[in-house]
Symmetry: C2
Amino acid sequence: MNMNAPTVFPAPVSSSGSIALTMSPRIRRSPFYEATVRDGVTHFTVYNKMLMPISFGDLGAELYRLMQGVSMWDVSVERQVEVSGPDAHACVQYLSARDLTKMKVGQGKYVAMCDHAGRLLNDPILLKLSDRYWFSLADSDMLLWVRAVAAEKGFDVTVCEPDVSPLAVQGPLAEDVIASLFGESVRAIKYFGCVETQLDDIPLVICRSGWSKQGGFELFLRDGAKGDELWNRVKEAGQPFGIGPGAPNHVERVVSGLLSWGGDTTPDSNPFEANMGKYVDVDTPVDYIGKAVLQKVAKEGPARLFVGMLLDGDAPSAWPLTERIPVTSNGKQVGTMSAVVYSPRMARTIGLAQIDRLVVESGVRLEVHSPLGVQGAVTTPLPFI
Amino acid sequence: MNMNAPTVFPAPVSSSGSIALTMSPRIRRSPFYEATVRDGVTHFTVYNKMLMPISFGDLGAELYRLMQGVSMWDVSVERQVEVSGPDAHACVQYLSARDLTKMKVGQGKYVAMCDHAGRLLNDPILLKLSDRYWFSLADSDMLLWVRAVAAEKGFDVTVCEPDVSPLAVQGPLAEDVIASLFGESVRAIKYFGCVETQLDDIPLVICRSGWSKQGGFELFLRDGAKGDELWNRVKEAGQPFGIGPGAPNHVERVVSGLLSWGGDTTPDSNPFEANMGKYVDVDTPVDYIGKAVLQKVAKEGPARLFVGMLLDGDAPSAWPLTERIPVTSNGKQVGTMSAVVYSPRMARTIGLAQIDRLVVESGVRLEVHSPLGVQGAVTTPLPFI
């Protein structure tokens, strides 16, 4: 047994894991901001130029709720880029490296948005609503990209960032909470399926989605003035199920191999290097930005792979890893690692890395270079569990 | 005398003015990060997805150095979008709402980058180097915008974010520090003039620029591995002049009326509403994105103006203002305020606001709605001093 192994649940973020952020009108707040403050939020990050809760002071309890019960998260930072108008489908298709021909109203799809060189710009969930599309975004200003492409390409569309703010309800009991609010019919919603509805006078879209593998829904609030009301309704409905506040959980997402765009990817990563290859359609008649490059990558194989790492010993750094660290093979750099955690379920230290494909395929042992020293490691496919 | 007026220099940021930010590889560090930590940085913001120092714990001393001596700032977050290749000039012109026909190598210009609806996307300094252009950016992902426009419009250019990180040296003694490092010839550099040079083996571009009105230069470091070396050289050369670490100063920038894009502007602001009208060329044969809309605004007058505010009493909120607050006239909302400070030199409380133009022109008294109550105010042109 490793005597230095962390305890089963990680400690709250230490002072060394956070810094003092000066607030500013340049960094927006969420419609749920006041509610999260009342409920004791302790740590934030900045995502899409908005404050996002990261912890409410007890990461252990937050992880436990997500894995065993139900947790509610302010994920308003998942901003939407809305595309509507006569050419909406053509525009959205051109922006997505996936064949959307058969996409139906009420469906969502995980799509790679790439530039003309095949670089991954964002990995949104694309929702098809009755009269519009939403790209529900990771951390990049895709409003700029979509508006530029739409205008220069001459699509007859309206592109905007609507007043839409997702609240996630995640965990094995999430469906019960959502059913108690909206009725039993929500249990029939498929993965990434979305329904436009209301909760009394609160307009929203329910989607079976969320940045965890524990199941759940996201409530896309369509009126920012009603953030407090929605937060309180979900909190109240969740009481019988032991709901509590939380946030996307670093340990869970690493174990589940969920991609953090901009954290796990580098500015030149293509979707095959981000483990998104199965969502990229290269053998399709539809055209989209970056297609020729992605076809070439699909044929020749990507230069790098996004993989799991199994470390020999302790976590090489405090939670969370605050910058990418080098990974070498016999002293030669072969990639970088972007996350490392201790997994209670696996009882070992694991991580995420972008590593040269030929090195991954060779199966050689690697060295991880943390500020605390060098550790041995091997790669493993994602997800871990 | 107002007994509640703040002391001459504001107190260090209080715990209420900052929050705990969890660090992540998604938020990059600057090449000067380690140096700023050694020199005692206490507060950060996140800007262009990077950490930016905001204070070293004594805002009073930092303001004094900027106003009376010399201060050095890590402003690496001013990222560059580089445009090079055969169509570089045509591409940069199309992206800038200003006639660049006569722009010469070694010149910089303050430009409005707008979208097709005339909305202000960024307010960079554009530098023309011997073989490339740099947009030196405020807080938005213009790499996405420029790449999309260049590719869809078919310009034969290369667009990238180069390894370039500005270090600002600001204050009345800044020129002496820069001259002691680079020689007396730097005194001849005009405002926004730029020179490609080296400091021993450190490649950089010197520009007479910086986000203050106290004079100074920015050293655009062209090798991120040499951040520590450049920081130490500037620190050493500045010792005889009393140099110390600092950051763009909120009090000074408000008094000087310097625009904080994304803080003072709203997503739908056009450049005339951001006090940038004098930098927008509407009577020019050159074409650029948004020109037709901007011509119309120039002719009819903008709906809103970016103005100074003179408040009757105390600052309505702790430094800094953490979100936009409403401004009314006889109970009707006529704009929002994005900054408020106590100016020691003016011995009064002042602020920045975006207010309906007709209201500004009428000169009526306004009411500012802070969390601490309502205060009377009048508008005034910028800059204050």
